[in-house]
Symmetry: C2
Subunit: 97 residues, 2 copies
């Protein structure tokens, strides 16, 4: 697992954009899971804050993750994000167990 | 997957306690994976902050998660945490895709 890179991407919707963000995030799941090097790409909704979605991602290599960043679906999401996302926190980790 | 509950537990070590926190966290992994209802329990180290560890957890039911909170290994960890942990952010999610 030494090369696997883990991403936790936490996005908070602007007020009134909760459902739109959720739908835009859901649309990423299937095309992303078909990408090269995608090991896990799960989408979650915060239990008490319906405006918060979190992706938990595992990628085989950092190159695969970088390619994901250039994918048509992620670029389309990025183009919508300015209208939907109030704040975001995207961090990278290395799995150690 | 409707009942599955996801936890992201983000812990930041006190200065000088980075390795001790990492070791205490590592010690949780094997006994926790043997617990009833534990679907996924992975431990990660932040790529650029060696004092930050993150557990990504999936539990079959909230009852399983609550039982985990009462386990001997988690109680032992909790007893050490005051000395090791500067801040923590533990949040619960529902997987939607």
């Amino acid at each position: 697992m030494t090369d696997v890179i883990t991403v936790v991407a936490d996005l908070k919707a602007k007020p009134g954009k909760e459902e739109a963000l959720r739908n835009a995030a859901l649309a990423l799941v299937e095309p992303t899971r078909k990408e090269q090097g995608c090991i896990q790409y799960d989408l979650h909704l915060h239990l008490t804050d319906p405006g918060r979605v979190v992706f938990f991602e595992n990628w085989a290599t950092v190159e695969d993750l970088n390619r994901h960043g250039q994918s048509p679906h992620l670029k389309a999401f990025g183009a919508m994000a300015a209208d939907l996302v109030e704040s975001r926190n995207v961090e990278r980790f290395r799995r150690i167990a």
